[in-house]
């Protein structure tokens, strides 16, 4: 019975959708800026999984190229974002996402 199951692209898409939703939930619920950032990475990864799946379904390498760009943008985003978080947590180690105004001025 179970041997007859085939892994269709739909499975990958559903998994990507689940990962994206979990990431969005974490981004909305957590208040530690570092953990919120990790949730953004989770959402980006869900999207890359979807891109690769569609790339294989449609036999178009363009999807994989987009994933390369997503990786580059994620790396740049992490570098700048973590610099901001370091500047924020340097002022107050227990700062949450509400305290970004501390960086003003």
């Amino acid at each position: 019975m179970i041997a007859a199951l085939d892994v269709t692209p739909g499975w990958y898409l559903v998994l990507g959708s689940l990962l994206f939703s979990i990431g969005a939930f974490g981004l909305l619920v957590r208040r530690n800026p570092l953990v919120m950032f990790m949730c953004v990475e989770l959402m980006l990864n869900a999207v890359t999984l979807t891109f690769v799946t569609f790339s294989r379904m449609l036999e178009d390498t363009g999807g994989q190229s987009v994933v390369v760009f997503v990786l580059v943008v994620a790396a740049a985003e992490v570098v700048v974002g973590l610099a901001i978080i370091v500047a924020l947590l340097h002022k107050r180690p227990d700062a949450t996402a509400d305290d970004v105004a501390l960086l003003e001025g």
Partner: protein
């Protein structure tokens, strides 16, 4: 149970467990390590979808660089203490978050269901003779060449921005050695002793000069200054 199904189930379980770990762990270090689980699961799924190069890049860039950067920042700032997940500072935030997440989930499920897999047909897969990295390179340097060049500018901007942000406000709280002024005499004495130990012969010369000038004390000061 076919190999593909087995790989998918294991990797998907790793992904979902890691994702839940990121959201639910109190300690940021545990969240970062859970994120590694998700990233590895995604890399395995990339291999299953014959995107071998992307799987390697995923492991190297995400697990190797980005998560290490996260852990580095956590350790550097010493913020690796547990958050209190019981408090809910904004009333109704969690309920709203649950609704928004379920809405996103429902929307994406509806989108997947509405396509109907017949629209794109079954997976044909790429021509196995051409490695995926060749196809990817050809695509990057022809169709996506402009975006690829823009990427280099983005990376330069990111590096400059990170340096600028990290350097800001470092000047005023710079402390070299507290109490240096108070201990100035003691430090000078020690320096003199160290100098004597390093080159004793120069000091013998000085002592001999001093003995010579013993008679006329007026010259003493100038002698000392000279040596």
């Amino acid at each position: 149970m076919s190999v593909e199904l087995f790989v998918f189930v294991v990797a998907a379980a790793a992904c979902l467990a890691g994702a839940v770990g990121v959201v639910a762990s109190r300690n940021p270090v545990h969240a970062a390590l859970s994120l590694v689980g998700t990233l590895f699961g995604i890399a395995v799924l990339f291999v299953a979808e014959s995107a071998n190069f992307l799987a390697a890049v995923q492991v190297i860039v995400y697990a190797g660089a980005i998560v290490v950067l996260f852990l580095f920042v956590i350790m550097l700032l010493g913020v690796d203490r547990a958050d209190d997940l019981e408090v809910e500072p904004l009333v109704g935030q969690r309920v709203a978050a649950v609704f928004v997440a379920l809405g996103i989930l429902g929307l994406t499920f509806a989108a997947i269901a509405s396509t109907g897999y017949e629209a794109t047909g079954a997976v044909v897969g790429f021509d196995a003779d051409v490695p995926d990295i060749n196809r990817l390179g050809q695509s990057l340097f022809t169709d996506f060449l402009f975006a690829f060049e823009i990427t280099s500018i983005l990376l330069v901007i990111a590096v400059v921005g990170a340096v600028l942000l990290a350097r800001r406000g470092r000047r005023e709280d710079e402390i070299i050695d507290p109490g240096q002024e108070e201990r100035a005499e003691e430090i000078a004495e020690r320096m003199l002793l160290a100098e004597y130990r390093a080159h004793p012969e120069e000091f013998y010369e000085y002592e001999a000069d001093e003995a010579d000038a013993e008679g006329d004390g007026a010259d003493d000061a100038s002698e000392e200054v000279r040596t």
